[in-house]
């Protein structure tokens, strides 16, 4: 079953992605592919570039180099790939070396869910899901929640039903549990009509039962709805159980790409550089007694690129 999906061609193709924040190189020529109907997990230590790569794909960060192709269409760097997909898919473009600005053409929708979920807690669940449709609504139909067209609300209800929360539509998003909120965020991504769903540590803030539920949902979106799902995870165990392939990242590069039978050793190796760096930093700190500045800067840098 999984081989079928892979042979159908990559929905998302990332090629030679580079990104540096100041001196610090976060992505160093990262390449990977995700096919429709496939769940791919990204594992790696803090600072290995997992989140940054996803943020580059959706346009929240502007890559320094490399290409991002969604369903054969090049994404414009630094622009959100969810924008204005009016259905008119442009001609496939040959992957160009480096980053070149593309003319205004529609890109199939890429959606993202976040560790911190990022719903608007004061708004109702339904209104939060409707917000996924903003990219295809004119301002006159979206200036307020009161202006959302009925079709959009009906579509949002269908998306909520898909994640099993249709009965909570009129409740305030902030009143739901973490796991339910993350499912609402997935519904918002569906309302965006996403073909690619990126998940940045979607279950890191959730308890095991809720994690299980959200991961099952992602799995089923790939299996039953044919979405291409890429998830940054910090739990090798969940990655093994729910994904078709596991990508190991270290230093902004791909160090392994394997169908789920990853050895424990490979996973442990992934986190070893971080551990060594931590130990090295502590040793350096001990050597430079009295000065706390270097440690602080390392810590904040690590957090920033996590």
């Amino acid at each position: 079953m999984r081989a079928d999906h892979l042979s159908s061609g990559a929905m998302l193709r990332v090629d030679g992605l580079r990104k540096a924040f100041g001196e610090k190189t976060v992505l160093d020529g990262l390449s990977f592919e995700v096919a429709s109907g496939e769940v791919v997990s990204l594992l790696g230590a803090n600072g290995s570039g997992k989140s940054t790569s996803l943020r580059c794909v959706v346009g929240l960060e502007r890559p320094d180099g490399g290409t991002i192709t969604v369903d054969g269409v090049s994404a414009r760097p630094g622009e959100t790939t969810g924008a204005r997909s009016s259905g008119e898919l442009a001609r496939p473009l040959a992957p160009s070396e480096g980053v070149t600005a593309r003319s205004a053409e529609a890109v199939p929708t890429v959606a993202m869910v976040f560790q911190k979920i990022h719903l608007v807690p004061r708004r109702s669940v339904l209104d939060n899901v409707c917000a996924g449709a903003l990219g295809r609504l004119s301002l006159s139909r979206s200036w307020s929640v009161l202006a959302f067209p009925r079709e959009v609300q009906a579509e949002a209800m269908a998306c909520l039903d898909r994640v099993g929360l249709a009965d909570r539509a009129r409740e305030k998003a902030g009143r739901l549990s973490g796991g339910q909120q993350q499912r609402v965020a997935v519904a918002r991504a569906l309302c965006q009509r996403a073909q690619v769903l990126l998940a940045d540590e979607p279950v890191s803030a959730l308890d095991p039962a809720a994690s299980e539920q959200v991961m099952n949902l992602l799995r089923s979106l790939a299996d039953d709805d044919g979405l291409a799902v890429a998830a940054v995870l910090h739990q090798p165990d969940l990655a093994r159980r729910f994904s078709d392939r596991i990508l190991g990242l270290a230093g902004g590069r791909l160090v392994f790409d394997s169908s789920s039978e990853v050895t424990d050793q490979a996973v442990a190796d992934l986190y070893r550089p971080a551990l060594e760096a931590l130990e090295a930093a502590e040793a350096a700190e001990a050597a430079v007694a009295g000065s706390t500045a270097p440690k602080e800067s390392t810590d904040s840098a690590t957090k920033e690129f996590a």
Binding site: T80, G82, A83, R122, G135, S142
Partner: protein, 291 residues
Amino acid sequence: MTGLTTAPRPRLDIPPRYRPAGIATGAVVAIALILVHWYAAVQTNTSPKELLEGWRGLWNFLFGVDRTYPNGKTIHQDGAFPLDLRWSETIRPGLEYCLLTIWIGLLGTTLSIPAALFFAVISSRTTNRFVPLWFLGRGVMSVLRAVPETVYALMFIAAVGFGAFPGVIALAIHNVAVMGKLWSEAMDEVDQGPVEALRVAGASPVQSAAHAVLPAVMPSLLGLLLYRFDTNVRSSVILGTVGAGGIGFFIKTEVDSFHFDTMMTYVCMVIVLIIVIDLFSAWLRKKVGTV
């Protein structure tokens, strides 16, 4: 208790709380501050001697004085106390003037909402990433804010004459700049997460403002609006003293005609008015769920 506690811990030096460089800097700053204040006191004739000499005048103002003129006649000049408590001549009109002051503050605040919202949205990094427009918004608000309400009031009184209306306009214009700045700062501090999430969904900046930023900051905006209403009622008292209507105008009129007792009655009414508005605004802000 266990083996863990038996090992003697090494004695370490306690790091000093203050460093010599820090103490030196502190001393320089303290001396500079003392010098500046001494110079300011000289320039403004502020001294205990002046206060003592002014004491007699203050006493006469508060409690009245008998003035004997060269022709031998003695005239009693009323002081501020006892208060003038005549109902129909002083207190009832005073209440009406207080209400007028509230109406000026209310309209001055409400009329400024649309423009303040506009400037807040274009002056917040969260809602406007187009730098030239951001600078324009900040610049316009800085200029508008640099002119005090009183000066606006004087200008509009010159244009349309004495009355409450120039006060309303003066407050509204000043408040656009002040409330716009407070609101834009509230928007700057909003959690960027939902904004990013909607950007990924393809929302335009205006759409993210309407669907991520405004819902999140609405309680803060309401709280700031109530706070500005409170402040604007105070300001409208001052605007009255330059001729822009309300209780302030009558405080000025009475003091100009040496009716210190009537003036002091109005001052007491202002104190009550301000405290009531303050309590009301605080209560409402609590209801709204901010502060």
